[in-house]
């Protein structure tokens, strides 16, 4: 038996082990998110001196009112349905009246807006009095949510061990890429691996030593996915692997900036309007300055650097719509946000970037629903968009000028579910994607050994097929699920967030990533029409990479441990 047989066996063994290793890493990331949390205990409690009852206050922001969906329900006819909000900030506890009829009193003084309450202060709501007590004064145990059923002080896995596993995974990818069939530039993946490891451990060190954060699992997950995306490029266009890595570095910087920037949810409210203007200007600039790439005019070029403003606007879009609980209940008017969203979606539609327009629209629906909880506020915009589509179709039939643009959109839908009727024309990309997904089998043909990489857009719009072919369908699905499950996490920390501002932004950011993921994965596999959007963290594209890290920051910020626990 000669040496080549042994190396062959080794490479194949590696290929088979990789998907299972990926499953372990993703599992460990999510397991770590569940652990090292405070146990389910009230933060403070409200003592009713008349009845002698004690109410636990478990959230950072608590709505108080007669409505059954309030966090603290008071069955008293003199209390409004949404009466006031009891909230915790860095400076202590505050109570904020949200337009009650009978008013809210602290130690007998009627309050307007927010007023601080101290331990043993009396809060009067309608005809009911409460005295603020410490959380420890409440003795009965509380039931914890399923996601946090096994909270413990010990982490599921030490952050550095998790990082070590991820680095090892990327090293395996580099080794696999070294043994590609073409046999040229054998060692170049190792150099890339070195650069990647510097970024990964650099970020870890900053978070661990400089920012003194205890948790790193969310960032680890982001790095894990980023690294996979980078290594998919090393045997395709090696140069863009480095571009991708630099973009990831910028994304990480943006991530840290956003996490710091939104530390105080009340201050963020003040810059909402300027940010709205900035984002509209950014979008408008790409119409005026933009070049047309792949039929969508969403690129702005400065010298040799080109970027997509729409990607950056995604991060602004998320937080503009969110606000803390007391603001949410006093200012229920959404008109400002609706107009802003309509402008954004319209600008994107003008650029013919219908994939991104769709992402914005669905995110808009998420934000609106998270704010209002009203199904009517969702049906209305959906009806409006459907109406707009049909009126466009009508206009296109009578005005030749917009006919071409409209036909371009329809052409993409024409081959939907019929890619095999025209595998060399309209259905080409998807037909090729399916061919090569099937060619990859469960474990893939090895990094660099695929042929899908020769297809245009294979590294961005159809990256799911690229990964499936070279690393196997199992791994492709594992990383897709790793992104999709961010929603489960964002939802689980909803009631553990420091403000509804965070829970709304986190859920909507995770929702946006999932919508984008779905359009990418299902677009290239012909489950949905092909819209040409990127796979979060994986697809080649600097702007997209930066915006994904920006969105991840919102999920990180929603985790109360981010700001409140230091190492």
């Amino acid at each position: 038996m000669d040496l080549s047989v042994i190396t062959d066996a080794g490479v194949i063994g590696l290929r088979v082990l990789m998907p299972f290793f990926a499953i372990i890493i993703v599992y460990q990331c999510y397991a770590a998110m569940r652990r090292r949390r405070r146990p389910e205990k009230p933060l403070v409690s409200l003592y009713n001196p008349n009845s002698g009852g004690m109410i636990p206050v478990v959230f950072w922001e608590n709505s108080i009112g007669r409505s059954k969906s309030s966090d603290i329900v008071i069955n008293d006819l003199s209390v409004s349905r949404n009466h006031c909000v009891l909230l915790r900030r860095k400076a202590g506890w505050f109570v904020s009246d949200v337009g009650s009829v009978t008013g809210t009193y602290v130690n007998g003084v009627r309050i307007h807006g927010r007023a601080q309450v101290l331990i043993d202060d009396i809060i009067t709501v309608g005809s009911t009095e409460y005295q603020l007590k410490r959380g420890d004064d409440f003795n009965s145990p509380l039931r914890s949510s399923k996601f946090f059923s096994k909270v413990s002080d010990k982490p599921a896995i030490q952050a550095w061990k998790l990082m070590f596993m991820i680095t090892l995974f990327h090293l395996f990818m580099a080794v696999e890429a070294m043994f590609w069939n073409e046999g040229k530039n054998v060692y170049s993946p190792l150099i890339l691996f070195g650069a990647l490891a510097v970024v990964e451990w650099g970020f870890f060190s900053v978070s661990y030593f400089a920012l003194r954060r205890v948790n790193f699992e969310l960032e680890a997950l982001g790095l894990f996915l980023t690294g996979i995306g980078v290594f998919m490029l090393v045997r395709q266009v090696e140069r863009s692997a480095y571009t991708q890595l630099i973009a990831a570095g910028l994304g990480i910087v943006l991530y840290c900036v956003i996490v710091k920037f939104i530390e105080d949810p009340d201050k963020v409210q003040k810059i909402r309007i300027p940010m709205m203007i900035v984002s509209v200007v950014l979008l408008a600039s790409s119409i005026l300055l933009g070049g047309v790439i792949n039929g969508a005019a969403n690129w702005v070029t400065f010298g040799s650097i080109s970027f997509q403003p729409s990607e950056l606007v995604k991060t602004i879009f998320i937080f503009v719509g969110a606000s803390p609980l007391d603001k949410l209940q006093t200012k229920r008017n959404l008109i400002e946000f609706i107009i802003y969203s309509a402008v954004c979606v319209a600008l994107l539609a003008l650029m013919s970037d219908f994939g991104t327009a769709l992402i914005f629209f669905v995110t808009f629906l998420l934000v609106v629903f998270m704010r209002s909880g009203d199904i009517k506020t969702i049906l209305l915009p959906v009806a409006a968009v459907v109406g707009a589509f049909f009126s466009m179709r009508f206009l296109a039939s009578i005005i030749p000028a917009i006919q071409n643009r409209f036909n371009y959109v329809l052409a993409r839908f024409g081959t939907y579910r019929h890619v095999w009727d025209d595998p060399q024309g309209g259905g080409w990309q998807q037909a090729q994607a399916l061919t090569y997904i099937a060619s990859g089998g469960l474990f893939g043909v090895g990094i660099g050994n695929g042929y899908f990489k020769t297809i245009p857009e294979s590294e961005s719009d159809c990256v799911f097929a690229l990964i499936s072919e070279e690393m196997g369908i199992i791994l492709a699905i594992v990383i897709a699920l790793a992104v999709a499950l961010l929603i489960v996490y964002a939802r689980a920390i909803t009631t553990r967030s420091r403000s509804t501002f965070y829970s709304i932004t986190a859920c909507c950011a995770a929702g946006l990533l999932l919508v984008q993921l779905s359009l990418n994965v299902f677009g290239c596999t012909d489950i949905l029409p092909f819209t040409g959007v990127t796979f979060p963290f994986i697809s080649a594209g600097g702007s997209s990479m930066i915006s994904c890290w920006g969105l991840l920051a919102f999920i990180k910020a929603a985790d109360e441990r981010t700001y409140s626990i230091k190492r």
Binding site: L366, W420, A431, T435, I437, G472, G511, S518, T525
Partner: protein, 470 residues
Amino acid sequence: MKRSLRRSTFILLFTIAFIIGISFFMVELVLNADKWVNPENPPYPANQHIYRENGLAEAGKITDRNGLVLADNDENGRVYNEDETVRRALMHTVGDSSTNISTAVQSKYRADLNGYSLIWGMNIPESMRTSRDIALTVDTETCTAAYNMLKHGFEEPKRGACVIYNYKTGEVICSVSTPEYDPNDPPVITEENQDEYDGVYLDNVLSSTYTPGSVFKIVTAAAALEYIPDIYTRTWTCTGSKDIGGHDINCVNGEVHGTINLKQAMEESCNIVFAELAVELGPEKMTATANKMGINMRFDVDDLQTAKGHYNAEGADDNALAWTGVGQGFGEYEDKVNPMQMAILCGSIANGGTAKSATYIKDGADDLLKNIGIKQVKEYSLVDSDIAQKLKDVMPSYKIAGLDIRAKTGTAEVGNGKGNNAWFVGYALNDDCPLAFACVVEDAGFGNTYARPVVEAALETATNNLRGKM
């Protein structure tokens, strides 16, 4: 905050929808992966794992029915049988290293020869590969006998096709198509040599259609036997030419056959008798019989289909109808048949009305056979059994290689200054050699002079080999 939690359930639905979508895709993948890997509609080289330059590097060995190696790999890549005649005779069946001959085994089963599995994709580890060898049903010596006759038996090399198949099992014993080239040395087709190589990538056995001429009289006779009760007692008087529907119908070379019955008309191939029969039967009955006998049908051959013949006399006037009845229909009523189709039709007459679908694949690993769908043998019922028996009685008898043969010659005029297409189609009645055959020689002459010798040479060898080895 409770409200936020409740509302966020809406977003959770997106995750559930995503997981449902992924599951749906997995089901699609498992069901369709083998089709996606090598899409066939339309057949085009989509998958570079298969169609890259060195796409047969992993392919198995191809043998004939006796284990003679027709194609295999050595350290220099794909190699074909060392005998050039063998390579050329089987070139359309085996294929070359390109995929130009789309109906050849090496083209249509390239993915399967390379080995594909749902688990490993196109990348099955060497040690886990099952055999990708494939044994064909063809008998090399029979093919070369037919090939030599087509190529060297006449004053010049002839274009044409010859197919012999076993109507009891469906196995194709001989399949030869000319023009051809040596797969070891594929020609670069340029403006100078394009006439010589015109249609060289086409397997005439499967993919070409020809004017049938007198071999179509089998169909007309079948219709007459079915619809005209006193057909056996009738006689016709042939004077070499007769006005039907305003124009003359002639017998070949103005031959005069005198007073003859149906069997004699079949033997003499008298145009006048069959022209009159066609007119008497009328367009509907003629077309119905042609449809039943599969003239307008594609026949499944493994996972390919033959070219479709053509017969439609609906709306034809008497003269046009008369010409369709002798296999010389023109214009919109033209008659066309495919050699494989004729062999299957003859096979079904011999076999009491039903014939097995033809196959080129004799044996291979189970996975390979499953992938290429070899186990789905079809039966075609083309003739009622009593009509089949009656046809056996009226079709001319021959004795070739000791076999009891019923066959029909044909001499089809094609015009355009080209010589006639010579045809010879038929079947052996012997139980130990249940063979049906069809042979067409282009730009030749009488079927008896050109097509029959090709079949005789092939049947001679086939009978020897089958009897010797069965």
